[in-house]
Amino acid sequence: MTAGLMKMLLRYSPLLILAIGWELVSRLGLVSSDALPSLSAVAAAWIDLVRDGDLVSNGLSSLYRGGAGLALAIVIGGVLGILMARWKPVNVIFGPIVEIFYPVPKTALIPITVIWLGLGDGSKILLIFLGCMIPVTIGAFNGARSAEQALIWSARSMGADRIRILWDVVVPSALPELLNGIRTALALAFILLVASELITAQNGFGYLIGSLGDNGNYDAMYAVVLTVALLGFAADRLYQLLMHEMLIWRH
């Protein structure tokens, strides 16, 4: 355990050096404290933000939007991708739509989702859902298409029907690529969340960053930006652990 801890410390030591460098640069006055407040000042602002509840309440709003959008994308995107791979008519109908939609910068849809669903949670959830669905669908599609014929035939000869084969053979075959797609979607969810809240919102991380910046409260603004960055990092690490657990048969 201590060896593992040492290894982790060593691995993330560049971050520690960066933090020390940051502190020194602003302490020595090499950069104006408006452009880059010292790390200690940011930490102090962070504690204040947590104490008065701003960070938590805005964070919960964001978490709800991100979680709901991502969950919808995983369920609907996963089902759609697998059906597209296994059932031609579904592919004929949805294939071109996914293709056209793939390269669209999803942030361009922010004003549209606002027109449709207003300034509240709905427009953010819709945006995150639309953006995250693409990598999930593509992952599920490619994964399901890679399901081996011999595995499907084996299951059939053992008495599995179509639905059984879909669930027992196609879905597990698709899992590695599907889980990779979800990982991309997870990162995308953070991007779309903060972007949409920065532009139009009354609360959430993005809103908080924007309003603190507008008021010149840069220490606190940095504190929120750092919080979002660390949350994104933690979510990805946790997700990788989960993925490793789910694909234990591959290692």
Binding site: E148, A150, L151, W153, S154, A155, R156, S157, M158, G159, A160, R164, D168, V169, P172, L175, I248, W249, R250, H251
Partner: protein, 261 residues
């Protein structure tokens, strides 16, 4: 009456791109119950296609195939299949793979567990019950696949070059074990191979197929004493291998020429 009757089957292979290819032309074959039949031929002759048709994995478009008097329309648990590349579910352990077939057959849980263990022991995988296929050697994977198929007790065993991906020593070991299992369990086996020695060693009869389009060229009866440990050097064995090799040789050359063109 024969258990498996293949009657004037013709099969067109339609690749996703390009022109359809005539894979089988007018193939007729009868296999008796409990018989071990080898389907031997050069690569691309359609021997695997014939096996998949009997298995019900491919539709019979022209001619007919019947098992126990009933036309084959779909795969069924009366015909178990073993593939060259094992086709084990990689996300299931050895035990999980074997249990799967038993589950699909609706066997009660306690009985499933007992039966799975019995077949794990039979193929010599005791101690590897909870290993995933990715942790097993090729030979062990094929043992697991064989156990999975034997466990749900199909009357007919369809084997598609099952030992083709194994090294020479493992292959020989598996051949001997398969013979032992076949002698103990009453099953009909159709065994696809392009290895003449293997066919002569394992089978009661060897059906030699022509190069594409596949036809049954001759069927050779094999009468060699397989219990003899020196069987591979016995004159009767060597003569049979020579006889069949001469039949296959010209087809193999034809197949090569076609590949090159």
């Amino acid at each position: 009456m024969a258990q498996i009757v293949v009657d004037r089957v013709r099969h067109l292979y339609r690749p996703p791109r390009g022109k359809p290819v005539l894979a089988l032309e007018d193939v007729s074959l009868e296999v008796r119950e409990r018989e071990f039949l080898a389907l031997l031929g050069p690569s691309g002759c359609g021997k695997s296609t014939l096996l998949y048709l009997i298995g019900g994995f491919l539709p019979v478009e022209s001619g007919g195939i019947a098992v126990d008097g009933k036309p084959v329309a779909a795969p069924g648990p009366d015909r178990g299949i073993v593939f060259q590349h094992f086709a084990l579910f990689p996300w299931k352990t050895v035990r999980g793979n074997i249990l799967y077939g038993l589950e699909r057959q609706g066997m009660p849980s306690a009985e499933r567990q007992k039966r799975a263990q019995q077949f794990i022991d039979l193929v010599g995988l005791t101690g590897f019950e909870d290993s995933y296929p990715s942790h097993l050697s090729g030979g062990m994977k094929q043992r697991a696949a064989l156990a999975r198929t034997l466990a749900f007790d199909p009357k007919i065993l369809l084997m598609d070059e099952p030992f083709g991906a194994l090294d020479a020593q493992t292959r020989h070991l598996m051949q001997t074990e398969l013979l032992g299992i076949w002698q103990r369990t009453p099953k009909t086996v159709i065994f696809v191979t392009h290895d003449v020695q293997e066919a002569v060693y394992l089978a009661d009869r060897v059906a030699v197929m022509s190069a594409r389009p596949g036809r049954i060229k001759t069927i050779v009866d094999i009468k060699v004493d397989k219990t003899d440990p020196g069987v591979f050097k016995a004159k009767a064995f060597v003569d049979k291998v020579d006889e069949i090799w001469n039949l296959v040789k010209e087809e193999a050359i034809k197949a090569q020429v076609e590949h090159a063109s």
